[in-house]
Each structure stands twice: as structure tokens, then as C-alpha cells.
């Protein structure tokens, strides 16, 4: 039963990633693209965690944690850059 649920979740998240890619392409402003990439990072985190369940190993949590931190920092840095024209003042 878990295998079927995982198949459904993988296809749903793949579809969500395609939608995020479409949002990145469409825009229209730069902040829409930043938001789309942030959502894409969150989808990838969920994908990595579900892959860890399907492989039955807890190795991938560190990768998911690094993705979470990196996505947060890059989104804040990009928003700060749009806001002020500089990241560290």
C-alpha cells in the first residue's frame, strides 16, 4: 500500500515541479520567479524525503536539511537584493 501511495506522491510532486517551472518561465516580475523557485525547493525537499522512505534509509535527511537551509538563504538574499540593490550593506 505504501508503494502505491509513493507512486502517487512521486507523480503529484513531479507535476507540481512542472507547474513551478511554468511559473518561473511565465513570471511576470522577478519576485514571482523568486517565489516559484522557493516553492520548487520545497517540492524537492518533499521529493527527497519520500525517496528516503522508498529506499528505506534515513541517509537523505541531511540532503533535505541542506536544501531547506540553502533555499531559505537564497530566497532571502534575492528578496533583499531586489529591495535594496545590495545583499550585505
Amino acid at each position: 500500500m505504501i508503494a502505491h501511495a509513493l507512486t502517487f506522491a512521486f507523480s503529484a510532486i513531479s507535476l507540481a515541479l512542472l507547474m513551478n517551472l511554468w511559473s518561473v518561465v511565465r513570471g511576470p516580475s522577478i519576485l514571482d520567479r523568486v517565489l516559484a523557485i522557493d516553492t520548487m525547493v520545497i517540492n524537492v525537499i518533499a521529493l527527497i524525503i519520500l525517496y528516503g522512505i522508498s529506499e528505506q534509509t534515513p541517509v537523505y535527511f541531511e540532503a533535505a536539511l541542506i536544501f531547506a537551509m540553502f533555499g531559505f538563504v537564497s530566497t532571502v538574499a534575492y528578496a533583499k537584493f531586489v529591495l535594496r540593490g545590495d545583499i550585505i550593506e
Binding site: M1, I2, H4, A5, L6, F8, A9, A12, I13, L15, A16, L17, M19, N20, W22, S23, S29, L31, D32, V34, L35, A36, D38, T39, I42, N43, I45, A46, I49, L50, G52, I53, Q56, P58, F61, E62, A64, L65, A68, M69, F72, T75, V76, A79, K80, V82, L83, R84, G85, E89
Partner: protein
């Protein structure tokens, strides 16, 4: 692994995946950025929360260990999602909207449009560089 544990883990996985899909779909469907912020920052965090709970339940049922990594990831995401949304909304407000175009909460206006402390003496840089 008992059948009850399988049902719980499968339900959590499916709930998480559906919320992730709805969050990404809402971002396509909403008309502009301030409404678009709503869909990913709420639904996607709930989706990742569902998959993390599924992961905790799975490793608790399959191997009998309570893994704490997932709680770390969900804590970090729950803390960082509002900060991200706040930063994006602030950047949008300063790049698109003037102070008078916004609804005024209690007659005082929005503090992000106020002059920064020390602006009278000319120390602070200009607020809006766009």
C-alpha cells in the same frame, strides 16, 4: 509492519502530496504576487509537514526508532516560510506600491514606509532604491 501503520503512513503521504500539488497549482492560478504568496507558503508547508510526519511514522513502525531529523526539517521550514513570505511581500510593496495606495490599518499607516531612525541627520541611506 501492521496494517494500521501502513494505512496511516499512506494517508499521510497522500495528504502531503495533494497539498504540494494544490500549492503549486494555486501559484499558477492566482492573478498577482500578493495573492500568489498565499498558496505556496501555506499549502506547501503543510505538504512538507505531511510527508515529514509520514517519514516519522514509517521509520517508527518499520524499524522502531523515533528519528528526530524530520522534526528538525519541519521546525526549520515552519520558521523560515513566514520570513520568506514577509521579505517577498516587502520587496513587492516597495517596488510597486506607494504608501497612500494601501489600506490604513488604524490611521497610522505602514511602518515600512516610515523614515528610518536617524534619517533626519542624513545618516541612513535612502529607503527605496528601485
Amino acid at each position: 509492519m501492521s496494517i494500521l501503520a501502513e494505512v496511516i503512513v499512506s494517508a499521510l503521504i497522500i495528504i502531503g502530496a495533494v497539498f504540494l500539488l494544490v500549492g503549486s497549482w494555486g501559484m499558477i492560478r492566482m492573478p498577482e504576487l500578493m495573492t500568489r504568496l498565499h498558496a505556496p507558503t501555506k499549502a506547501t508547508t503543510l505538504g512538507v509537514g505531511g510527508t515529514l510526519l509520514a517519514s516519522i511514522a514509517y521509520f517508527l513502525a518499520a524499524e522502531g526508532v523515533f528519528s528526530i531529523h524530520e522534526l528538525l526539517i519541519s521546525m526549520f521550514l515552519f520558521l523560515s516560510a513566514p520570513i520568506t513570505a514577509h521579505f517577498l511581500a516587502k520587496a513587492y510593496m516597495h517596488s510597486r506600491l506607494k504608501a497612500g495606495e494601501l489600506p490604513r490599518p488604524d490611521g497610522k499607516g505602514w511602518s515600512t514606509y516610515d523614515k528610518p531612525a536617524g534619517a533626519e541627520s542624513g545618516e541612513a541611506p535612502p529607503r527605496d532604491t528601485l
